[in-house]
Symmetry: C2
Subunit: 462 residues, 2 copies
Amino acid sequence: MDAEEFRRVGHEVVDWIADYRARVEEFPVRSRVEPGWVRGQLDGLSEAGGDFAGLLADLERVVLPGTTHWQHPGFYAYFPSNASLPSVLGDLLSSGLGVQGMLWSTSPAATEVEQHLMDELVGAMGLPERFLGGGVIQDTASSAALVALLAALHRASGGKWRQSGVDGAETVYVSSQTHSSIERAARMAGLGEQAVRSIPVDPATSAMDAGALAARLKADVEAGRRPVLVCATIGTTGTGAVDPVREVAALCAEHGAWLHVDAAWAGPAALCPEFRPLFDGVGLADSFTANAHKWMLTAFDLSLFWTAHPDVLVDALTILPEYLRNTATESGAVVDYRDWQIPLGRRFRALKLWSVLRWYGLEGVRAHLRRHVELAALLESWVGADEGWELAAPRTLSLVTLAHRDGDGATRAAMERVNASGDAFVTHTTVNGRFAVRVAIGAEGTREHHVRALWEALRGEE
Amino acid sequence: MDAEEFRRVGHEVVDWIADYRARVEEFPVRSRVEPGWVRGQLDGLSEAGGDFAGLLADLERVVLPGTTHWQHPGFYAYFPSNASLPSVLGDLLSSGLGVQGMLWSTSPAATEVEQHLMDELVGAMGLPERFLGGGVIQDTASSAALVALLAALHRASGGKWRQSGVDGAETVYVSSQTHSSIERAARMAGLGEQAVRSIPVDPATSAMDAGALAARLKADVEAGRRPVLVCATIGTTGTGAVDPVREVAALCAEHGAWLHVDAAWAGPAALCPEFRPLFDGVGLADSFTANAHKWMLTAFDLSLFWTAHPDVLVDALTILPEYLRNTATESGAVVDYRDWQIPLGRRFRALKLWSVLRWYGLEGVRAHLRRHVELAALLESWVGADEGWELAAPRTLSLVTLAHRDGDGATRAAMERVNASGDAFVTHTTVNGRFAVRVAIGAEGTREHHVRALWEALRGEE
């Protein structure tokens, strides 16, 4: 495909996406296909090349029916993942440039635009100055958690981990509501599930019980275990619970454990001063993560990660074979982000974040966040005034967790009815054993009439 | 940005990329900026939103001078990373759809198109049938290696690894020429560098010495170590060496070790029957990886990974918190690719691979591979006929490693002269301690006149 063909076909692809986004509400949010249907529609690989028209036809015929429409305004499941159109174009520019930024020297702009944006966001989000120079883009919060754990293991070993590995006494602390990625990271790091302590939560708030954490740390240390990392969450996946970060930080300091703060979903809210109280204590964290690809208008995948100890991270993960040696690296004047992540190679992901920040401006991003919080507060008020439904957990920001007073059967039936309608898609959690519907308001196009329709559908009003 | 604005701005972005690709040869291949120059040109974040014209202007003014042009026909460094224009559009479609395919149910087509392509490629690449149903797209070969190692650890422990972690007796085998990602994976998995055995290579071919591997395995087992994984490479990064996979496989079988075959660069060549002899024994591998984003026309990042034991991999990595439970998963009728990778979330990466396979067809991809191999053979013939230069290692496919007979100083000076010219970019390696230039022919636009110009520049002819 030469440049002129690309121009012609590229315009068609852009138009196809524009049309798709304009008609996204015409589709059922959740795909209705059966397992195997999509594969059954696909042809084998062809010897001869073809044209893009055939591919676009297959997108219509096969892919769209097999798609769960994450950009639909009725998507309230999991956490919505904004792929705003400016970010789509930023990512297109990244693919178009086609650079691979593993080293500073393999494309200086890929590294320096990222450094610049990560440092600027420290100020914009009210994060501590100790994060300056410690920011990097990861693909996901799962990878960010793994990277944090590896740095923590290296530090806790006094720098012996890289050579000697783990010794089986390392211990990691989460709450029962912490995202599963931390337990998975402990597994991947060779600690096994035996190393993970699940600390109970306050039943009223689902936040980690700091007293229970203190007791468990003490008991473990007395038993010869070595506390390596505690993960505190600001905005849990289940209900949006906020762990007592400041108290947890004091316990981490006492025991020399790394404090990782996971704000994968709620993190972008730190851009709004009125939501900053949720982030109390975050300045004490050793690392912090927030996903731009959830609630910050940036197409998946882009997770913001900061650490106050980039030197530890780099020392843990660096390796320099002959074929990667270069003058810039040896000068010590540059950052090579390959040492900050699991993979070696990396896309120029900063371009899609830059596109978002420039198109919307900070005010535009804040307006997007505030709209969803306002809509969630509205839904909360309707639930509070209803005889059949009640909150199953306190609302945090734009996440409302609710349950029917008639019990789990009624709640589940309402959820299934809504999801079958095609107008909305919600998922569930359990709160103190009770089945509850999560309404995560966060799709870019969601407006009051969508939330009102969801509420009416949950209540059984057609 | 609404659909109509996206249409207008999107066309501008497509045109900008078309123009960039049309003029890519006007830029010096390797960026000439000094550390810090790019950051010094950037403004702080703005409160107000803006337009895309300002971003495109900054791309021209700041990003392009700070870019090392991986899509330039004179890019012979590392391994080139094709970002063909059809793959760019496939990736654009993925961002435009904006789905997140962690579970089958979160977008069935994202999973099933991937399963389909991975199974079809098993046939097209002559891979063993035992890989059918075991294919998945990873971001990079580094992540693929880590995933393979985690599955191997789980298997070697009899399924206890997930709970108990590693015990320090696990041992991993590489050659001295194996990519650094394997040693790094061992570190990340908690084994430490102490667990990695670097097996010597045959000085003539740089291939792993199977006899030395056998001796080391035997000695380790006698010393109470547990061989967990051997990585054999088809096409090493330094010189393109090919390890004796069949012999290594027999040793793995004898010791119950997992055989991971890393063909990150050379793997796509398996599409051409005449190159299949390089892949002898690959049918015995437990896992195999080949990067579509290096030599298979697919924009970074897309690494093809197959394992004969997807059940082991899933058992090692699966985790199912309440908020991810769903009917399709519980039916057992679907694959949830989140269990096959390090992160939880995932892009619809298969779209960019599908775009490549449909636009070029298998014949088109083969023509692309064969052109580079022919150009490398031509360069090899010129080197062979020259009085000043010689091959530093046997050519493999499209990788030529050469050195000046006058010694390292002359070789390095020629490399630096070429790189400073801006017309080409090559990197280096060492072969038995000798400094050598690597010419990795693989950019989509590279033609004979480019390679001839490189050769003349290396020889000092302007």
